[in-house]
């Protein structure tokens, strides 16, 4: 094994913010980025002049397809008054944001810059669902996976089928992940679906009555989630509520070199571990029940940070589908293989559990503007570690936290570990 790689100097988050996630017909990705930038500037504790920023990295999957606009990084730099500073778009599918964060970390650790802005943005709702599905499908290995008829829900459904076969999980178990993430999102004012599944179901019943239609007879959320009318199958065994939504949104964090931290805040969040790995298409892996790149990225990050999975207090993981959260919780070492779905069922990953996962509501309920998601994960960690997550704040201190961001079926994975020291 090569010797442990480390950052040559420390890097910390000193500000973080996100736009509201949702569907915004009048806003493009640039507008959303500006909204997130303004939220970030408000979050910086000491007075802060943005002209101090030296470089910008923006995670974005496919503005080309979603809004017919490429080359967005300089446009975003211009929109927040940062030209002529270098502005770079980073693309690794749904991991674009997490990889942009890593680029920012490396840019500071290299000594090239002291103050770097990292953003992520995606404007997806200008296209219809079929068009979005096809745009997302370009993150697959197009000539070898798409002719089989696969969609992204389909890939993760195939992983779920293998997981069910191997570990005896039932599709119902996955619903626990969706219920938990909606419970968390209901307490997140920035979430796209800030409602519990209970409220969602009640809303559907009320809407039917208002329209004079026969009211659905669901008495519990389990009735609702088992009913094709409430929760249609998308790609068996995954149903609508197993899937993250299509979302418009942006997120921004401000990174600085350790010697500059106290110009901005006395309560920084240090980034002490970073790992990233790549992999082949899904079919070319020896097992479908794990994402090898996630394990490799996590191992790199844990080693760099000098911590283990047991030390992590909370995590934001890439729950593009419910099965993805289960697999992530195992790949990160929180639970043994085959135990992740039981942990979700037993409430271990709930906000008040011993290993809270996706306190923000996750991609599932907070929303998944793909290029923004990896950065929005860091925004939630920033808030939780600083005790600023309001109604969804976890109990007690959060000295160590982790983010896990996946591109496609795991052909990219990037993991970061965060530390609060005071």
């Amino acid at each position: 094994m090569p010797k442990t790689k480390s950052l040559t100097r420390g890097v910390a988050v000193v500000g973080a913010g996100m736009s509201k996630f949702g569907a915004f017909a009048e806003k493009n990705s640039r507008d959303l980025f500006v909204e997130a930038f303004k939220e970030m500037t408000k979050s910086v504790d000491k007075s802060f002049d943005s002209s101090i920023i030296e470089s910008l990295y923006v995670g974005n999957f496919s503005s080309d397809q979603f809004e017919h606009q490429a080359h967005i990084a300089p446009l975003m730099a211009d929109a927040v008054g940062l030209t002529p500073r270098p502005a770079t778009r980073v693309e690794d599918a749904c991991a674009s944001g997490g990889v942009a964060l890593r680029q920012g970390v490396m840019a500071i650790a290299s000594g090239l810059y002291d103050v770097v802005l990292v953003g992520g943005a995606e404007k997806m709702m200008a296209l219809n669902t079929a068009q979005v599905t096809e745009a997302l499908a370009t993150a697959a290995d197009v000539p070898f996976e798409i002719p089989a008829g696969f969609t992204f829900p389909g890939f993760y459904a195939a992983m779920a089928s293998a997981y069910m076969h191997r570990y005896g999980m039932k599709p119902e178990h996955l619903m626990n992940v969706a219920i938990k993430n909606h419970d968390n999102a209901a307490l997140n004012p920035y979430a796209q679906f800030g409602v519990t599944i209970q409220k969602w179901m009640e809303g559907r019943i009320a809407a039917a009555i208002k329209k004079g239609k026969p009211a659905p007879t669901w008495s519990t959320i389990w009735d609702f989630l088992h009913d094709e009318a409430g929760n249609p199958t998308v790609a068996w065994p995954l149903r609508l509520f197993d899937c993250s939504p299509v979302t418009d949104g942006a997120a921004v964090v401000l990174l600085v070199a350790e010697e500059r931290i106290h110009d901005f805040t006395d309560h920084p969040i240090h980034i002490i571990g970073s790992g990233q790995a790549s992999d082949s298409a899904l079919h070319d892996r020896p097992e479908l029940t794990t994402i090898p790149a996630a394990k490799i990225a996590a191992a790199q990050a844990y080693e760099m940070a000098g911590v283990t999975s047991k030390d992590i207090r909370i995590a934001e993981v890439h729950d593009c589908f419910t099965i993805a959260e289960v697999i992530a919780s195992e790949d990160l070492g929180f639970f043994a293989p085959g135990e992740g779905f039981k942990a979700a069922e037993d409430g271990v990953t709930a906000r008040n559990g011993s290993k809270p996962v996706n306190t923000s509501g996750g991609l599932k309920a907070k929303g998944h503007p793909v290029g923004a998601s990896g950065v929005a994960q860091a925004v939630e960690i920033w808030k939780q570690m600083r005790g600023q997550a309001d109604a969804r704040q976890v109990d007690g201190d959060v000295p160590l936290a982790l983010t896990h961001n996946v591109g496609a079926t795991g052909s990219t994975c990037v993991v970061h570990i965060y530390e609060r020291r005071n």
Partner: protein
């Protein structure tokens, strides 16, 4: 150059040309004998670039699958929709390599009865006529 001596490139286009000829071909490394589907021009195992095409046995078993109710436009054009879903899967070939493929000969309406490990053999599904005819890789139960 004759058909026998001409080696097709290890590309998606060449792979698909073989599919159109109803052959599921793999790239094999002449150095380490690793077999790869999709084909690779450089061996991922030993990094040799001395590869050759070999026809696979076409026999395998189901490693993972899904029944898709909402597919891409080209599948809708082939008649698939919510009322007529289709199965996509990953098949592990006898040679130990896996491929994404359509699955035929299994009832998509009863997914609970579909078994991981089911034996399958290669099949080819054609759609369209003449110039627009396209051949898709499938595996049949």
């Amino acid at each position: 150059m004759s058909e026998e001596t001409m080696v097709r490139p290890f590309s998606a286009a060449a792979f698909n040309q073989y599919i159109a000829e109803h052959k599921l071909m793999a790239a094999r490394c002449k150095k380490c004998e690793g077999v790869y589907v999709p084909p690779r021009a450089i061996c991922p195992n030993c990094h040799s670039d001395e590869m050759e095409w070999v026809e696979t046995s076409g026999n395998g078993k189901l490693a993972g699958f899904t029944v898709i109710y909402s597919g891409p436009t080209f599948m809708a054009e082939q008649g698939f929709d919510r009322k007529n879903p289709y199965i996509s899967g990953i098949v592990e070939l006898e040679e130990g390599v896996n491929i994404s493929t359509r699955i035929t000969g299994i009832n998509p309406m009863k997914p609970n009865e579909i078994k991981i490990g089911t034996s399958l053999s290669v099949d080819f599904v054609e759609f369209g006529e003449g110039e627009t005819k396209k051949t898709y890789l499938a595996f049949k139960a």
